[in-house]
């Protein structure tokens, strides 16, 4: 018999202000232990918020009972538990640690930023800070013992402009997109104040902007939208558990087959994607996944050819393919499943002005506001907060309600220019949902600006 205990403590502090007034701050401390047991070829999981010795003993007994039931069923047994022995520690790179006085300071800052966003035609001005602190302590009967401490401070700003029945919202990076690991240094209030002025002005400008036209043209996506584009149409389709059928009833399957790895032309030769949980400060950086596998960088797509998928130890055995350290949990109360971590696009060689100058007629879009894709991750429709019309290499005007739609198996083949490191930015999301029972985890996506040809766009 093999057993492990995974203690997870999540402290989440949420500070908000609306129209210059603080809302009730909330602090959530969610902690508990998951006991993983492997016996006679079967895994079972039992979690408890009672972290006293008696609580953990009871959880272990329940896991053993589950295995007895599994043995009588028709589930195929595994040959071994596949877990590696690991020891060590990891901590987010932090310049200044989060403390109580910082949280109090955020309450004042939220009010100040919200006031800064207010003005004529602004119906609602909101500022938020989400402060995340996670501790994971893992031990198993193989002798593994490791600990990770991750922390993040995520600012979010938004202004809703309203006039004569028209409502337009503009945000900082599309909501909670500015996700990074770190400490107090991530709450750069003076920079956020400058952003408030831009957000407010653009929300008002959009009220009288023309609607996005319906036509097929070049599309230049900024990193704040590439964040979502990579997540939905590269990250999810490459998850082994989707391909193996585990997710079919809920999140969905994938158009990618196991036989596609190593040969499928996913995109143009300019497309290079990596799984990289080692980037300092990126949102889903870690040393160990939640099964204790040591995390390292791997190429997923190289020169447009699909190389490797997203699967932890168990999925790698089931798929008979190499994978990555991506067995992750949303919290103490869920078993590990295949997830993304940092899925990043490798920069190319074009500056943003060079890409704009190369466009005869096209749109530049940033900040996601709408997203929908089918359960095989093929037909998608995404919307952004704002677009800029580009004609003969120059930005002509702003447009409201921009949307675009395409198919994953066609879209990435239309990638015709990739921005250089000057256009490269780190984003992410704290809200990636998947799994039965459901799990939300944090993902990071870093990307340069990218130019696509012949994309169908339309407006409101």
């Amino acid at each position: 018999m093999w057993t492990s205990t995974r203690y997870v403590e999540d402290k989440t502090t949420f500070i908000s202000a609306v129209n210059g007034q603080l809302r009730k701050p909330s602090v959530s401390i969610d902690s508990g232990v998951m006991v993983d047991v492997f016996k006679d070829g079967y895994f079972a999981y039992s979690g408890t918020s009672d972290i006293q010795t008696t609580g953990i003993q009871l959880a272990t007994q329940r896991a053993l009972k589950l295995i007895d039931v599994l043995k009588e069923g028709k589930s195929p047994p595994l040959q071994s538990n596949f877990r590696e022995q690991q020891t060590g520690n990891f901590q987010s790179a932090v310049l200044k640690h989060i403390d109580t006085s910082f949280i109090h300071h955020l309450c004042d800052s939220a009010v100040e930023l919200s006031q800064k966003l207010m003005g004529d035609k602004i119906a609602t001005a909101e500022s938020h800070f989400m402060v995340l602190e996670r501790t994971t302590k893992y031990q198993d009967s193989n002798g593994s013992t490791w600990e990770q401490k991750l922390s993040s401070v995520i600012p979010a700003l938004s202004a809703i402009a309203y006039h004569e029945g028209e409502s337009q919202k503009r945000t900082l990076d599309g909501g909670f997109g500015r996700c990074l690991q770190g400490g107090q240094e991530l709450a750069q209030i003076s920079i956020l104040k400058e952003q408030c002025e831009i957000i407010k002005a653009e929300a008002i400008e959009l009220l009288t902007a023309d609607n996005c036209p319906s036509e097929t043209l070049d599309l230049l996506l900024m990193p704040s939208q590439m964040n979502l584009q990579i997540h939905e149409s590269i990250g999810h389709p490459l998850e082994y558990d989707r391909i193996l059928g585990d997710e079919r009833n809920y999140a969905g399957s994938s158009f990618i087959k196991l036989s596609d790895f190593g040969n499928y032309q996913y995109g143009s030769e300019l497309l290079n994607i990596v799984f990289d949980p080692t980037v300092e400060s990126e949102f889903a950086t870690y040393k160990f996944d939640d099964q204790g596998t040591h995390a390292k960088k791997e190429s997923l797509i190289s020169r447009g050819i699909l190389q490797r998928g997203l699967g932890g130890l168990e999925s790698q055995i089931r798929a008979n393919l190499p994978g990555v350290a991506c067995s992750r949990v949303s919290s103490w109360n869920r078993p590990p499943i295949d997830r993304m971590a940092n899925i990043n696009m490798v920069p190319g060689d074009k500056t943003l002005p060079q890409m704009i100058e190369s466009i005869e007629r096209g749109l530049l879009m940033d900040n996601n506001r709408a997203w929908s894709i089918d359960d095989y991750r093929l037909k998608f429709q995404f919307g952004c907060e704002m677009a800029s019309l580009i004609v003969d290499g120059k930005i002509v005007k702003k447009l409201k309600n921009p949307n675009y739609r395409s198919r994953t198996d066609q879209f990435w083949k239309r990638l015709k220019a990739v921005g250089d490191s000057s256009t490269f930015e780190l984003f992410g999301s704290p809200f990636c949902g998947k799994g039965e029972p459901n799990q939300i985890i944090r993902v990071g996506h870093a990307s340069p600006a990218c130019l696509f040809s012949g994309i169908e766009v339309f407006g409101g």
């Binding site: 401390i29 609580g55 599994l70 309450c107 009010v111 739609r405």
Partner: protein, 439 residues
């Protein structure tokens, strides 16, 4: 957790309230088993014993909330709660006022302990799905919700529920089915499997590829449930209407009306969820939201009333979202729906809804699972999944909503993010003209 233990913890903890403070305590507890199925076998089995508390303190014009996990052991949890409360008190001394968060004044006392019926187990399911490619999640076990405040309010809800949300497969063809309730009946479960298996046979025919354009469609009750539940996302919450972020603003402002056959209301009499929240106020049993196509009101909490003076609280849950919701039935008979549809698309399920144009309440999504092309009242072939992009004002509009079924189906909220959700919706199917497929 039992009601007795909760009341014991609440009584001891709330003794520590000081003059000038109002303190509230919510409990969310579950003892759950999750069996995840892949290809007809149990892929992951998990047992979760989870006790979570939600505290609020209101003092000197300031409010702070805190969530924390517990053990269910009285002394241990009371000590944890008191420690959390001390930190909350300190925070209130250091922060600006929170004028929209008024202290609760509810002192209602209620308790509902529902009968605990039969729950399933792995063997009961596996005996009836032999050799079937099935994927899904079986969730079962007891759930408790409790509430207490320092003013004397005490409320309790205990229920034991199961939800088996599953789909059957033939290659990439699938049929979705859900069996849920509070008393597992093996015969009812077998009937669900039989019905899904029969539908899967229809899916084995070659798929028909549709061209983008407008179609006459029948939306199953499950599809209607998903579409209307999408209104929880910046739709019918009064705070969204007030701050202009609602995508149903034109409906709420009276500029647009839906079909006179469309009526939507919140009805706690359906019993899908506890009828209390963290305010201590009893929730209104019936809240008409849309009546005969006209907007009546959104969900409006006390907090929204405080912030936006022009709106009046209507006994809605503080989340301002659907929890026990129903759409009034129509007159179409389920067993004649294909002949009413004539030629068009039978849509069993929709997937991944997202607003695409806030001003016109337009949303995009995909068809999923067993959707069929129907000709002259006869199923001809399953369709290749299509993307749609439609305005809800058209979908349920006077000219396009041709009718609703007289039969309704109930769907329990099967969300399990962080913990098991309570709630549900009871809806009919809908016959609709001019449904726009785009990709």
């Amino acid at each position: 957790m039992t009601q007795e233990v909760f009341l014991n913890i609440a009584d001891q903890f709330l003794q520590s309230s000081k003059p000038g403070e109002v303190i509230t305590l919510n409990l969310s507890a579950e003892n759950s088993q999750f069996i995840r199925f892949t290809k007809g076998y149990a892929r992951q089995t998990t047992h979760i014993d989870q006790t979570s508390y939600f505290l609020q303190i209101f003092t000197a014009g300031r409010a702070v909330s805190r969530s924390l996990t517990g053990t269910g052991v009285v002394d241990v949890d009371v000590a944890r709660l008191n420690s959390g409360l001390e930190q909350m008190r300190e925070m209130t001394l250091q922060m600006p006022p929170t004028p929209f968060d008024l202290p609760p004044n509810g002192t209602a006392v209620s308790a509902l302990n529902k009968d605990r019926g039969a729950m399933p187990d792995l063997k009961m399911v596996q005996d009836d799905i032999d050799a079937i490619d099935l994927a899904g999640l079986l969730t079962f076990g007891p759930l408790q919700r409790g509430y207490a405040n320092s003013l004397g309010g005490r409320q309790w809800f205990d229920s034991s529920l199961f939800v088996f949300d599953f789909s059957l497969y033939f290659g990439d063809r699938a049929v979705k089915q859900t069996y849920s309730g509070s008393n597992w009946d093996q015969d009812q479960f077998r009937a669900k499997i039989k019905e899904a298996t029969k539908q899967l046979e229809l899916m084995k025919q070659p798929k028909k590829k549709l061209e983008p354009g407008s179609y006459r469609v029948f939306l199953s009750s499950r599809a209607v449930s998903d579409l209307v539940s999408h209104w929880n996302w910046m739709g019918l919450a009064t705070h969204n209407i007030a701050d202009k972020s609602s995508h149903l603003l034109a409906l709420a402002n009276g500029q647009v009306q839906l079909s006179p056959h469309f009526s939507l209301q919140e009805n706690y009499g359906l019993g899908f969820a506890e009828a209390f929240d963290s305010t201590g106020q009893p929730l209104q049993n019936l809240i008409p939201l849309i009546q005969d196509g006209r907007f009546v009101q959104g969900f409006c909490s006390l907090r929204t009333q405080t912030q936006y003076k022009e709106f009046k609280a209507n006994g809605a849950h503080e989340s301002e979202s659907m929890r026990c919701t129903e759409i009034a039935p129509g007159t179409l008979a389920n067993d004649q729906i294909l002949s009413h549809l004539k030629t068009g698309v039978f849509i069993s399920d929709v997937h991944y809804l997202s607003w695409s144009d806030p001003k016109t309440a337009r949303a995009t999504g995909m068809t999923r699972f067993s959707c069929f092309w129907v000709e002259e009242g006869t199923i001809v072939a399953p369709i290749e999944d299509m993307r749609f992009d439609v305005s809800y004002y058209d979908l349920f509009g006077e000219k396009t909503l041709l009718g609703l079924t007289r039969e309704t189906d109930s769907y329990l909220d099967n969300s399990t993010y962080e913990s098991r959700s309570l709630g549900g919706i009871k809806v009919p199917g809908a016959l609709v003209d001019g449904f726009k497929f785009t990709l």
